[in-house]
């Protein structure tokens, strides 16, 4: 893990880079290594726990594919030093014990044949594979309540559409790269559509407002 400074009040924990000793040491170019989502999740959970216990001050703790961003950190140097003495929570203690969110999915997406071609299989096998996968929300982004779901193996990663659709309906279940995701609201999008759900994923009156929060286990079950 490398801790990168981000402006005057933020730190980026980068799990794709080798360990450093100084936050501002000269950067050597290093190829990004694949990052285990469980490691990111373990750090996210640990940082969250430390913040709950007032051992960490940060306005935002934002996990992503290979990083966790801490924003609103009053003393980044001291916080970076403290983080180096911490260890991530073991993955199975974070939220694997939590009940998965079961998302009812109608598998009729128009890109199913495209996914099947990428996976060298047929459409029913694609649906079966997705339906049997134990997903987990790695992180949110792109839009409020949009969770990047990990669980598919790297070899099943699929490219985005060459040019995005101008409008993807709310509730669309889709794949891109190694991720699955569900569009909480209608928006432009380049992910491959495999199905749709009527489950509401973002409700500003709910607590939390997003159904799919980082760490949450998710199943995409056929209706």
């Amino acid at each position: 893990m490398r801790i990168r400074r981000v402006g005057g009040h933020a730190l980026l924990l980068d799990f794709a880079a080798p360990t450093d000793s100084e936050p501002d040491s000269p950067d050597a170019l290093t190829p990004a290594e694949p990052v285990d989502p469980a490691l990111v999740e373990g750090w996210r959970a640990e940082l969250w726990r430390r913040r709950e216990r007032a051992e960490l001050v940060a306005t935002e703790i934002v996990p992503a594919a290979a990083t966790v961003l801490l924003d609103g950190v009053p003393d980044p140097a001291a916080t970076a030093a403290a983080i180096r003495t911490w260890t991530p929570m073991p993955p199975l203690t974070t939220s694997a014990a939590a009940e998965p969110v079961e998302v009812p999915v109608t598998y009729d997406g128009e890109d199913l044949p495209r996914v099947a071609a990428h996976w060298h299989t047929d459409v029913p096998s694609v649906v079966r594979r997705i339906a049997q996968t134990e997903f987990r929300v790695a992180f949110c982004g792109f839009a409020p309540g949009f969770g990047y779901l990990t669980g598919l193996p790297a070899e099943l990663a699929v490219p985005r559409l060459p040019s995005p659709r101008p409008r993807v309906p709310a509730g669309s279940v889709a794949l891109a790269g190694p991720y699955a995701g569900i569009y909480p609201t209608a928006s432009p999008g380049g992910w491959l559509l495999v199905g749709r759900t009527t489950l509401a994923l973002f409700d500003v009156r709910a607590d939390p407002p997003a159904r799919l929060t980082p760490g949450t286990p998710v199943r995409l079950l056929p209706t």
């Binding site: 990168r4 400074r5 981000v6 402006g7 005057g8 009040h9 933020a10 980026l12 980068d14 794709a16 950067d27 050597a28 170019l29 990004a32 990052v35 306005t59 935002e60 703790i61 934002v62 996990p63 992503a64 594919a65 290979a66 990083t67 966790v68 961003l69 924003d71 609103g72 992180f139 949110c140 982004g141 792109f142 839009a143 409020p144 309540g145 949009f146 990047y148 609201t185 500003v204 939390p208 407002p209 997003a210 929060t213 980082p214």
Partner: protein, 284 residues
């Protein structure tokens, strides 16, 4: 309840407060006034708590009517303010009689001003904030002609103030930018250009980001950066090499490398298209 009637909404008038921090992990941007200190000052002038929601008025101005007498203050861009037939001073509390038309003229210098009304704009908060988020679509929609906005109950008297510090509208902005977190994705030419180029604010700039045009910043590392969390002031460099500085409605994550982070983006709130931007490094 007291209300503001929107007679003419102008190019872009939005409700803004200090935003909704703390939700970035769910993909919710912070949003809020592009110059929070200006909104705070406007609120103090009318006797509101500083975080109270007001209006952010862009470029063309707007026309409003208060259904009940109230106190307002306008801070930011250099504009003509008229209360009925009389001119009113920006930067001071102004008494507006019931039914009088309040005209905020087009910006002569600068780009945006903030209007506070005693009692605040009392629309329903969303995730703790009344701010309009133009990217995520949270909060009230940008104002349209004919809208009616509820006004809360004043909690304090207007400030006894004669003079406030005027807003600066420089033709050339000097922004302090600290390298990282992804400056190692760029070659030495890019770092020299970042600190040596007079960039120009593009007309495509908005509340999400200030787009700059100028010497492109070449990448040393090809390929894609996995999406990662980004902060206010991040200088993101898309494939065309033209930097973009993230402002209040920026997305919570981004896939383009961030070469540097600007310490203070509030001067950009007044930067019209064509304004020159120069970066200075704390380490140079």
């Amino acid at each position: 309840m007291s209300e503001i009637e929107v007679l003419t909404a102008g190019a872009l008038t939005t409700v803004q407060d200090l935003g909704r921090p703390g939700w970035a992990h769910l993909g919710v941007p912070r949003s809020g006034a592009l110059d929070p200190d200006a909104l705070r000052l406007a609120n103090r002038l009318v006797g509101n708590p500083e975080p109270t929601a007001g209006l952010e008025i862009t470029m063309t101005g707007c026309e409003l009517r208060l259904t009940r007498a109230g106190t307002v203050a306008v801070v930011g861009a250099e504009v003509d303010v008229r209360v009925g037939d009389r001119p009113g001073d920006p930067g001071r509390p102004l008494a507006v009689p019931a039914g009088a038309v309040l005209r905020i003229g087009p910006a002569r210098r600068g780009l945006r001003c903030w209007l506070a009304v005693a009692g605040g704009i009392a629309v329903e908060p969303v995730l703790g904030s009344r701010a309009t988020d133009t990217l995520a679509g949270l909060g009230p929609a940008p104002l349209r002609d004919g809208d009616r906005l509820p006004v809360g109950v004043p909690v304090g008297p207007p400030a006894p103030v004669d003079v406030t510090v005027p807003t600066a509208y420089p033709q050339e902005l000097h922004l302090t930018a600290r390298l990282g977190p992804r400056h190692d994705w760029f070659d030495a030419v890019a770092l020299d250009r970042l600190y040596g180029t007079a960039y120009t604010v593009s007309p495509l700039s908005n509340r999400v980001g200030a787009r700059l045009t100028g010497a492109p910043l070449p990448r040393a590392v090809p390929g894609e950066l996995p999406s990662e969390g980004v902060v206010l002031g991040a200088v993101q460099v898309p494939a065309d090499g033209q930097p973009l500085i993230f402002l209040a409605d920026h997305p919570t994550t981004g896939g383009y490398p961030v070469i540097a982070v600007v310490d203070d983006v509030t001067p950009l709130a007044q930067a019209r298209p064509g304004t020159t931007v120069r970066f200075h490094g704390p380490q140079r």
